[in-house]
Symmetry: D2
Subunit: 358 residues, 4 copies
């Protein structure tokens, strides 16, 4: 299903080469004034074609609002935004039907939908479907900001080149402001050049490269989320894995807790004036599924773009034999920079639901 | 919420020192013959008190079936199993009310439930609540086995001592059979002694240690799961994070994809007779959220038990000041071995829902 | 499924002649002090055996609380209540297996559950399963009362004998108080004797009789509920049809609107001090699915008990032929009086969910 | 919420005078060939402007398909259909803001959405929002027909003029075929003239009139639906009350069961060849929430259009005083004929979900 959420639900639709893609957001509070300028900035951060790290396909990706907004303010009715599909070159994908691309959903989609799914450009599995998610996230992010909650992500790594991580107990608003408008979001901006060089190297070698995205949520009041299956980790992970290419997620100290002692991993409480805080934040702002008031921090693993221009072995459904495939067309050698606003968007939709439940 | 699932729903209830804990499983297919002997074996694998790596608290943990079963066969009505709480020593936890234990949900639970939650023994946040999950998983696992689907987990690491991982393209039934009854489940059994030594060392040092659990699902037909938010990763992660102490999850090659090239990460398809398979399995049996027919493999990070006997800094709610806490009572220095059947159980409940939706 | 609710979920389990029946209520607010005395009064109103209008089967039906309550106060964890089954005489139902009783779910249950459902005493379809619903409703009703919301039902008719209906714009608390403890709840108490006479007549004629229940909810703030599918009518009806024997529901003027003119049906607004009210209440307190602040009023049709002692034609599954059936055992000639607290309970569970969503 | 469904979900969006209205249908099976000609016929049955019984507002109401369809066949991806809003005359509704129209959702919508909802033309509460529901229903209806399930409705009554009801045990396909294309659907066509005369009389008297719609579902296999809260009555009623103006629903003999004896109401089983059937159908094809294989039959009460041209008393929010309102604009004196395809559509969406769950 391409629907998610309990109190605030999103329903994403569209296929890469169909008539349009978009999202319905149901359950938004009425009376929230939105800046569409800011929403379009978020969509531009995700959009391809900005520079050499991304595909040259040009998209406006500016959504038309069909409902739910009057005078730039939410009416409380479902908000529907539609992005028309234009500039599609279907012939680039002419051989996909018979030969599933390794690492793509071509094969599994074919089985799942008995061969009836629209495979042009990846169809409903296309990364282009993250555009409506970014739209929905940008709407939710503004509503959260009205309540003092901020969300920011950065490129935590590309290949083996690592950015500095968030200071888990102190994430200043200025950093969030800067990251929220960055197209190549880094904490340590000196890492941009080596990362871009690595990506360019992969492009020249007809290859691609993976990476990680780190995301932080600040201002979350203590006490949001529920134990067991409606915990913050459950809810964030259940939407974040909706982003194509995500293969892992970890909260707080994440996988490194597996090598830690309890005495080392436990975050001690202390009073900071009237507020209870922890001196470290290995728990990533979440204990027992519930927010502690410390920043919520998570990282996701993004796999390298499967569309590489090299020759690859695959099968031919029609001929029923093994074969060799060469993918043409326009592809990012690294989608990690563009994945940052998508991860933030997923977090925003998750958090607005968590707030509604508390 | 302590409820999970769409077609087959579980609703877990109970507090560590209340009258009983249990689970309602709603939506099970009728006519499934169950071996309760096998269910109890799974519960014994999770139960504490078997050896020095676990807490000495003795529990029978044998559930009474209130409904949903006639002649050892599912009737189709909701199955309710109750485990009575006995042998609780509440006085061990006498100072928890005022002083939240670092790394526990004491603080967040107190905020979330305004101080009304039952804190004795961790209340509803207790690891003991995984017993009904194991029960539910053992029921689902048998029903899945009737359909050719097998699930097995092992201790993938304790601290920095690592077990061999599953061969991602070939997981023999014999290995699954062995792991399914192991109380200290390892692929490379030579790792048991060093792991036990490390755990014992942590105990002596009044400390605890984390680890990882790897879980594999074989026999899953291609085409299960849905794109975007009802993908296999979404659904498995949304239940697995319901297990206390899990701080991360990764599928297939997981976080290591972030350092891989596309040419390296892509799993090439080939015909194995009439069946399409992949030669490698970095995708962990999942592409676009949908099963490929290859084994589904994931790993979870388990944090070290927060209950360590060392003195720790925390706050005192009542006195409204910083203070020092010493935790008494019975605690596992390492819960990873007991977490294995819990992770398998969560996977089983997830997979039976995935099947029902396909 | 025997689960219902979004923010506050109930999961009902049990079969008439199994080990026990009960309910898990998940999502209750913490810190609500409950009177279990009052809960038991509600359960007694539903329980059989009080007088000649009901079955002589004696049940304690007193639930044991397994979780979610400490010091008579909700902890916020799932509340599980179990009622043990005792005093069951399975031999009374010995011939049901092969011959489905007309008007019962024997036939449909057999098809749905492939013959594996527990048919003794109606199994999971038994009216006895309304006991845990009354428990859940009584819990919710007390929490609602803390917020100024009251719920009351009465026997609106038995056969063609009609009680006075609620005054739709003025339902005094004294009436609600009286109805809330009545075992044969009527607005016009002079109707008790003719109704009891009719019921007794049906018993003597080895027959049964239907009726209607009217239910009112007062104190509901304006603005609860949502348009389209999460409207108050949708939500109340989706739980009320979970009560066996309900075949219809109508809100406000209900089916009589079909013969009305718009000028007659429209309820005019006026200011009553600062409050907007309507002079009539044909809309039953609901416009566009949302509460208007006027009393919410609905009526349900209750079919006559299908278990009549007369000989009836049916089929024999085993012999695969038409046959004649004579039902023995203990049966109410009229379940309408006992249905009143069940309808109230369903309304209470619905309303607490509606409030949580607003 | 304007979202409904579990396995096949619909999410309806739009406001009467916004940019467009529409629906996303998520979870449809792939590979279903659809006739869009037939879908448009259903939409035309609902559309206004066909004759004097309906409003003169002219709408094309032809939806554009944005996704989910390739070569007139479902792809399995979410199907989104958008209907552009044109020909809106907002000035007709100029005085609604301050003075809520009696019988409309103006007042409750204002409270629910804090005055931010789009009130032009009824906004999201407009009957126009039933157009996307009819679209969704027409899609589901074709898929159901591929599986041998048929759905038909008729005008059961207008005011006190009654059509013949369905023969509850025998509903021929020819009747269904005729009703499925009728714009004024009746079983006894001789009732058209008196009904039209009554409607015209109401128009001349600046008034409106209510009625009932009866709907039948044939070909439903026995065993669909579940006990308690996922029964057929629960599921159908929870969507049908999403149709504006519906104030009651009854299944089978409905409210008349309240005056019946058990011996009279019970439907006796018999063998019709190998098939178990009932000689009567007071149960409306549903026992214990589960289909019996007999036709499923229900009736809904439709209130008279609240927009009547007569002067009515109401309040003025701005002036904070009682006032008198005169509604101008274009309004149906009777929406019952147009409600028929809407009720059928709701039934189709309900039934496709019921099938998916069985």
């Amino acid at each position: 299903m391409s629907s998610w959420g309990s109190d605030i639900k999103i329903s994403i639709f569209g296929e890469s080469h169909g008539n349009g893609i978009g999202v319905v957001i149901d359950g938004l509070p009425a009376g929230e004034k939105l800046s569409f300028e800011e929403i379009y900035i978020q969509m531009a951060r995700r959009a391809p074609g900005k520079d050499k790290t991304a595909t040259p396909r040009l998209e406006k990706d500016l959504p038309r609002i069909l409902s739910g907004i009057l005078n730039d303010t939410t009416t409380g009715a479902p908000l529907c935004a539609v992005i028309d599909n234009t500039n599609t070159r279907s012939q680039d994908y002419g051989n996909v039907m018979s030969c599933p691309r390794p690492g793509h959903a071509d094969y599994t989609g074919n089985i799942r939908y008995k061969g009836f799914n629209d495979i042009r450009g990846g169809g409903h599995f296309s990364g282009r479907l993250t555009a409506p998610l970014v739209f929905a996230g940008a709407v939710c992010e503004q509503i959260l900001r009205h309540r003092g909650i901020r969300i920011a992500g950065h490129i935590c790594s590309v290949g083996n080149i690592k950015d500095t991580r968030f200071d888990p107990v102190d994430i200043p608003d200025e950093l969030i402001d800067r990251l929220n408008t960055a197209s190549f979001g880094l904490i340590d901006q000196s890492k941009e050049e080596p990362m871009r060089n690595l990506i360019e190297k992969c492009r020249k070698e007809l290859d691609s490269i993976g990476g990680t995205v780190e995301c932080a949520i600040t201002g979350m009041p203590a006490g949001a989320g529920s134990p067991m299956f409606d915990g913050i980790e459950n809810i964030i992970s259940s939407i974040v894995f909706g982003i194509p290419a995500v293969k892992g997620i970890e909260f707080g100290a994440g996988f490194s807790v597996s090598e830690m002692r309890g005495s080392e991993n436990n975050d001690e409480f202390y009073y900071d004036g009237d507020m209870v805080r922890t001196r470290t934040n290995n728990h990533g702002g979440i204990l027992g599924g519930i927010s502690s008031g410390m920043p919520i921090i998570f990282r996701t693993a993004i796999k390298p773009t499967p569309s590489v221009a090299r020759r690859q072995n695959t099968v031919d459904f029609v001929e029923h034999k093994d074969t060799v495939l060469e993918i043409h067309g326009r592809h990012d050698p690294c989608i990690v920079p563009r994945a940052v606003p998508v991860v933030e968007a997923a977090a925003a939709v998750a958090v607005i639901n968590l707030l509604a439940q508390s």
